[in-house]
Symmetry: C2
Subunit: 210 residues, 2 copies
């Protein structure tokens, strides 16, 4: 498809320049998709903002949707990576501590930049079947995560022993909904209050009598 370049150019290896262009295009996509909307963003706009030519665009990506898929995946993957890493550090803490940690890290990761929840919970919705599949896959993973914590709490006697599948889905929805609201609400909501609300809600949901 794209020929591999043979030699360095402008002092930088060709591959390096290509990855730089990729990143600049992804950056521009995050900015424009969330500012004007995904549909409203034209490929020329992306290229102008990224400082590359339309020709370059097609050397790196097949279509606009690919940018959205990559960004959506990255945002989720980065958040999950951070959460998992942090949870490892509190491996043998009690349920309440672990759940608090999980949520603080997640909310912190996604509210660091308002464009992140905007992209994931607004712009990336209903775009294509592929994107819907990817969304569902991530919802499943997050639900697995929450379910595992609930089971852990149950094993420690802090929660009843029951099926937490739907509870996990509901909690993912609650988080998503609050973050979608957060990035659009006027006047602005406090990220810290969102985190508190979610923490209390999740704790109540898990410890409620079966």
């Amino acid at each position: 498809m794209v020929e591999t370049s043979k030699r360095a150019y402008a002092g930088v290896a060709a591959d390096d320049r290509r990855t730089q262009r990729r990143e600049r295009l992804l950056l521009a996509a995050l900015e424009l998709f969330t500012a004007r909307g995904y549909q409203q963003t034209k490929i020329v706009d992306l290229c102008t903002a990224a400082g590359v030519s339309t020709r370059n665009f097609y050397e790196e990506f097949q279509a606009k949707e690919q940018l959205l898929l990559i960004l959506h995946g990255r945002i989720n993957a980065q958040a999950m990576h951070r959460v998992a890493a942090r949870l490892d550090e509190v491996a043998d803490a009690d349920a309440r501590t672990r759940i608090s940690t999980l949520l603080d890290v997640f909310i912190g990761s996604v509210t660091a930049d308002p464009r992140l929840p905007r992209l994931n919970y607004v712009e990336a919705v209903g775009v294509s079947a592929d994107l819907e599949r990817q969304h569902q896959e991530w919802v499943r993973r997050w639900a697995d995560f929450i379910e595992a914590e609930a089971r852990r709490a149950a094993a420690q006697g802090d929660a009843p022993d029951r099926d937490y599948r739907l509870t996990a889905f509901a909690l993912v929805g609650a988080i998503t909904g609050l973050l979608r609201e957060w990035q659009a609400h006027e006047p602005p909501l406090e990220a810290a209050e969102i985190a508190t609300e979610i923490r209390e809600l999740m704790f109540a949901a898990i410890t409620r009598p079966a």
Copy 2:
């Protein structure tokens, strides 16, 4: 813009035929938007499915988006109307009964046809600024509703006296998330189980200690 017709035609008043065409177009829109996706649905597709000409389309609507706005508004309005009516019937019941009623009616109304949640929670997301505004407006109304029930529960001593604003938003998100999952999940989820989960979650969220 559109001239008012002066006299009856084909045995039916012109206005009647127009409203019939409107309804057929809206029906076709609900079907096609949820089956192929909003963006993928072309105006000619709508006209073919509804059995009207493209000419007729522009006599009734300014643009495709208007159909989406109307459908989105209708689905919400109808659900809210049913919920409100039903809640009036149990005006002096206890908090638990009222919340159960609220949720059963709502979930029942929206899961009666899988296309409804699909349209409202997938296809109508991130389409335009107008639609986002309308979405936010409905989220606000539903949150008001839930908040009012929570306050009522607090007044009856069934829940602590605190600020329920964020809890209400979170619960709207939980419902939305579960319904979005419901309409896409393979194998299918049971609407009744969704209703149960939401009921217990909401009850736990409201009665949790402040």
